[in-house]
């Protein structure tokens, strides 16, 4: 290897490492702000990248009020309910559409394709959900996004890629399609279910808009909405202790502690997400 090559390799590698560090640094800083006590702020007049003293009071406090834990729970419910509905409905549509000789197949493919290109917009959706009486319910946040056409097409491609003989021989043996789906196809489709399940779940967990439009009761709000309220200094009036505690801790410390609590589940699940989806994204990338 020539020196030019070596230099190239080192420079390239170093730049990438710097990029990686630059991506991680914001998280690190957020964590250090979240554990900075008031006296450090008073002494130095500003937050530091590495505070000399730390306190977990902000976390203790946030977890003791009902606000964030309840929002956390709401998000967990919404994510579980939503993802289950997502996977069930997507699979139930993808499997029939993967059968090439299904009558009317091209019609239905166009049927699911059109909403990918054109939508009615926010206002008609708003009026629709309201008139269905779903306002202030978990359903309002889960049903409007029950199926993603994009994910549906990915799953359909996957089913089509399964060896046809498996299914054909079962049909010849007299098995009905429902049992073929459950007993043959599903066990083989764990990778795509895991991948799409993760995409759907992350979408629910990070969900903000539907809740913003359709939920007004604080006790039903998901995590992202409550977090946003904390960051914007819009706090629930029912919790007077929130206001008095803000004198003991710097505002940004409280806010960053809320951010860290909100990010932790995503970070915890991340290595696991990682393992599964690289294949899934390839599936989507090649097809999409």
């Amino acid at each position: 290897m020539s020196t030019g090559e070596q230099v190239f390799g080192y420079v390239n590698g170093s730049l990438l490492v710097v990029l990686g560090a630059a991506t991680l640094f914001p998280f690190m800083y957020v964590v250090s702000v979240s554990v900075t006590p008031l006296e450090i702020l008073a002494r130095f007049g500003q937050f530091q990248v590495f505070p000399r003293a730390v306190t977990v009071d902000a976390y203790r406090f946030i977890l003791s009020t009902g606000l964030i834990p309840r929002a956390f729970l709401n998000s967990v419910i919404i994510t579980s309910l939503g993802t289950t509905i997502n996977l069930v409905l997507t699979t139930l549509m993808a499997f029939p559409l993967s059968r090439k000789r299904l009558p009317g197949r091209s019609f239905w493919l166009v049927f699911i394709l059109i909403p990918m290109l054109f939508s009615g917009g926010l206002v008609p959706l708003f009026i629709l959900v309201r008139s269905l009486g779903l306002f202030n319910s978990y359903w309002a946040v889960v049903l409007p996004i029950a199926i993603s056409s994009y994910n549906l097409l990915i799953m359909k491609s996957f089913f089509q890629s399964l060896p046809n003989e498996l299914i054909e021989s079962a049909v010849i043996d007299g098995a009905g399609y429902p049992s073929i789906l459950v007993r043959i196809v599903l066990p083989l489709s764990k990778p795509v279910q895991a991948t799409l399940g993760l995409f759907y779940a992350v979408n629910h967990w990070n969900g903000f808009f539907l809740a913003l439009m359709f939920i007004t009761k604080d006790r039903l709000q998901p995590l992202q909405i409550i977090l946003r309220n904390v960051l914007l200094d819009v706090l629930n009036q029912d919790l007077p202790e929130v206001i008095e505690r803000f004198d003991l801790l710097p505002g940004p410390t409280m806010k960053m502690a809320a951010v860290v609590i909100s990010v932790l589940p995503m970070l915890a699940v991340y290595p696991w997400i990682q393992r599964h989806f690289t294949k899934g994204v390839m599936l989507g990338a090649i097809k999409g």
Partner: protein, 311 residues
């Protein structure tokens, strides 16, 4: 046997067909209902744009007003502003944001150590999984005029704190840069997949011929993924009307409406928050139509240049 088949009536064939495919159609039923209610229902709801929608009268009871809302819309000074902002932000995002994932992919591809490559990859696409609310929290920690890290550095250097989120220029910068930070790692995945499809023999042959790394990148790597680049670029153009609703809504504030208010945020404020249903629907409809035309045109272009589009 042939005679018997020819004699099967339509009724018999239909019955056989139903018993064969009926189960599959039943399976699709919940999904079909979902699409009809939640995707096609709102499309029908677009008629509100042509009516003076009264909540108590419902859609059918509200009177028709034809194109009146569109006339109001196109002559409104706000419309020019939001359209300009939408296109400006979208344009900047494409101009500045399109190359980085490609460059990152090329750099990662040149990394000879698979362990380091996987680590950097893992780290760089982490932000993709964060919500914009979380990212707004991170931005607050860095950019707040009072306690943000960047402003602390500025103050330490003797300068005045910059109000990043409330000044027009800086706000747009933050919008574009934060989008890149969030998506560069994830965007690189597709290019990396394409790069891994390039025949390694080409690189070997080039090395034997004495080509250095830069030449190999320029003559093998880039041409090898050129069709993917062109395809993704054309498709991105098809989404010019989408300037990043969720991001902008979460990050914007009235002080920067002049540059930050895009079509979607205007529709949201006027439609959902101020209940001007018909006008907001008309605006949304306009955007959707333009978006549809753009997608169809861009798909045609993609098919012509690269051989295929998204379907």
């Amino acid at each position: 046997m042939i005679v018997a088949t020819a004699k099967r009536t339509f009724a018999v064939r239909a019955r056989v067909s139903f018993s064969r495919w009926g189960a599959l159609y039943l399976m699709m039923l919940p999904g079909i209902v979902y699409y009809l209610v939640f995707r096609y229902g709102p499309i029908y709801g677009i008629v509100i744009a042509f009516k003076d929608f009264q909540v108590f009268e419902g859609i059918l009871g509200s009177p028709w007003v034809g194109f009146e809302h569109f006339r109001t819309l196109f002559s409104s000074p706000f419309f020019a502003r939001v359209l300009r902002n939408t296109l400006t932000i979208s344009f900047l995002k494409v101009l500045i944001g399109f190359p980085p994932p490609i460059i990152l992919a090329l750099m990662l591809n040149e990394l000879r150590r698979p362990g380091l490559r996987r680590t950097i990859q893992t780290v760089t696409y982490l932000p993709h999984f964060l919500s914009w609310v979380i990212i707004s929290g991170i931005l607050f920690a860095f950019l707040s005029p009072g306690s943000g890290l960047i402003n602390n550095w500025i103050k330490a250097a003797g300068g005045q704190p910059i109000h990043f989120m409330t000044e027009d220029f800086w706000f747009v910068v933050i919008i574009v840069v934060s989008q890149i930070w969030k998506e560069v790692g994830w965007g690189a995945i597709i290019y990396l997949a394409a790069l891994s499809g390039i025949d390694p023999n080409l690189y070997e042959a080039a090395t034997i011929d004495g080509a250095n790394r830069w030449q190999q990148i320029g003559h093998i790597s880039i041409p090898g993924i050129a069709s993917v680049i062109v395809l993704l670029f054309i498709l991105r153009l098809g989404h010019m009307m989408d300037a990043g609703f969720e991001q902008i809504y979460i990050l914007y504030n009235p002080q920067v409406y002049e540059v930050a208010d895009i079509i979607d945020t205007w529709v949201f404020r006027n439609g959902i928050e101020q209940f001007r249903f018909s006008l907001a629907t008309a605006t949304g409809f306009f955007k959707s139509i333009v978006g549809l035309v753009l997608i169809l045109v861009s798909n045609k272009l993609a098919t012509k240049w690269v051989g295929h589009g998204i379907w």
